[in-house]
């Protein structure tokens, strides 16, 4: 079967790749573009380890076909830090030890960033509901919630200074 040609914008850069029609966007990102930050946990949209932004919307990349990305804008965990400077969420995750094995972390960071972009001051309940689709089997979530709260406070501070 012939491959499908796909061109899209990933983390601000135009990219082109070839994939089989039945390749998930997650596999295309990982295998064709070498962006291995997004992980496959369940492959059925339950765990959130493959979270990415597709045209500004948080989605599970395992539930998107690679060819669907044609002409779309994709943002992944690889675009989160600015060069060597970590995003406040990334820093706070380290600060709070909000990860152990790290498998769920890219998805949690992408999902948390999407939350803070639309709600700069979420309550604990709002954070927990927003992140209900990101499963972590190590931390028990409390440290993650605290990291997101502190990153939110930091980002609000930055905004009020700017």
């Amino acid at each position: 079967m012939s491959k499908v040609y796909v061109s899209s914008v990933v983390n601000g850069d135009p990219v082109e790749f070839l994939c089989d029609a039945d390749t998930s966007l997650l596999d295309a990102l990982r295998d064709e573009l070498g962006l291995t930050g997004a992980k496959e946990g369940c492959g059925t949209g339950d765990c959130g380890a493959c979270s990415i932004m597709l045209d500004g919307r948080l989605v599970c990349s395992c539930l998107v076909l690679g060819p669907e990305a044609e002409g779309r804008q994709i943002d992944t965990i690889e675009g989160m830090a600015e060069g060597s400077e970590l995003h406040p969420l990334q820093r706070q995750f380290l600060e709070h030890a909000a990860l152990q094995c790290g498998f769920c972390t890219p998805g949690l960071l992408v999902a948390s960033k999407a939350l803070l972009e639309r709600n700069p001051d979420p309550s604990e309940t709002e954070i927990r509901f927003w992140l209900a689709g990101n499963l972590c089997r190590c931390t028990g979530y409390d440290k993650i919630i605290r990291a997101v709260q502190d990153a939110a406070a930091e980002l609000r501070q930055e905004r009020s200074v700017a």
């Binding site: 079967m1 949209g45 989605v59 539930l63 060819p67 999902a111 939350l115 209900a132 689709g133």
Partner: protein, 289 residues
């Protein structure tokens, strides 16, 4: 997930032709059901036809006082539409209960409907709302009621080549509102044990002029319980009317026992849930009179 052709047609005619090629073509909207079904091997399509690039397939527009929702519109987009949330809060809250934030970003009400699960969270409120579907296909287009789509669990009434292009919600008079509640053993990310959608039109003096009650997960398809709606009409949602509605609800339920709940449990919880949902819809209607 092996060996299908992917296409993303930009016209209805093209999509219909692709879907009609053989009986094994499948339509892709949000993909939150289809991708999982393909991966598990439950379906092995020859063609996957992505309808999201057809003009009008994504988006919400107001028309003749009502709303037209493109079949590819994500549930997340419904929750962000202020006018839709104000007019049909029950429809939106049903749709917004499906899956996680990530699933919300892709899942569609039309997909939830056509997937034909009896527990589909967006369907009871759509049925109670009297929503209709614009179905397109090889024979042209037709409009049918939402409740005419599901036939049995997992099977819908659409003919080969046909698909739902739009969902249409009718115009809303003053003093009208709706609500949806579901029972699940957790707080989030679960499938309804029972779901109840109630849509009311209430006169300025508080008398219910019109009432529609629909139930999910208590029969092979979502049920529109006409007697339950009729029990509320003419009342001010007093206890006697609510009791009549509960009796009608229990009488209409034909649930199965499964891992989510026994038939007896479903029957009894359906009545409670319908009562609570009616109260929310009534209160909301009062706020809009």
């Amino acid at each position: 997930m092996t060996g299908f052709q992917y296409s993303a047609p930009v016209s209805v005619e093209e999509a219909v032709a692709l879907l009609a090629v053989d009986g094994k073509a499948r339509l892709l909207a949000g993909g939150t059901d289809l991708m999982v079904q393909m991966r598990s091997g439950r379906v092995a399509p020859s063609q996957v036809v992505d309808i999201k690039r057809i003009p009008g397939a994504i988006g919400i527009r107001q028309e003749n006082g009502g709303f037209v929702i493109g079949a590819g519109t994500s549930c997340a987009a419904l929750g962000e539409h202020a006018a839709l949330c104000a007019a049909w809060p029950g429809v939106v809250e049903g749709a917004n209960l499906i899956g996680s934030t990530q699933v919300q970003g892709r899942a569609t009400m039309a997909g939830n409907l056509c997937n034909a699960s009896p527990a589909a969270d967006s369907v009871p409120a759509l049925v109670a709302a009297g929503a209709r579907c614009l179905v397109v296909g090889p024979q042209g287009q037709r409009e049918i009621a939402v409740q005419d789509i599901p036939v049995t669990p997992g099977r819908n009434s659409l003919a080969p080549g046909e698909f739902v292009l739009e969902l249409r919600l009718p115009a809303r008079p003053a003093g009208a509102s709706d609500a949806y509640l579901r029972a699940i053993p957790r707080t989030e990310m679960d499938i309804a044990v029972v779901g109840a959608g109630v849509n009311l039109v209430v006169a300025p003096d508080g008398t219910i002029i019109e009432a529609h009650v629909a139930l999910g997960a208590v029969a092979p398809t979502v049920l529109l319980v006409k007697d339950a709606g009729a029990a509320l009409v003419g009342s001010k949602l007093d206890d006697a009317a609510l009791q009549r509605m509960e009796q009608a609800v229990s009488a209409a339920c034909k649930p199965i026992s499964d891992k989510r709940g026994t038939a007896e449990y479903r029957k009894s919880i359906a009545a409670v849930l319908a009562r609570r949902t009616a109260k929310i819809a009534y209160q909301r209607a009062g706020e809009r009179s």
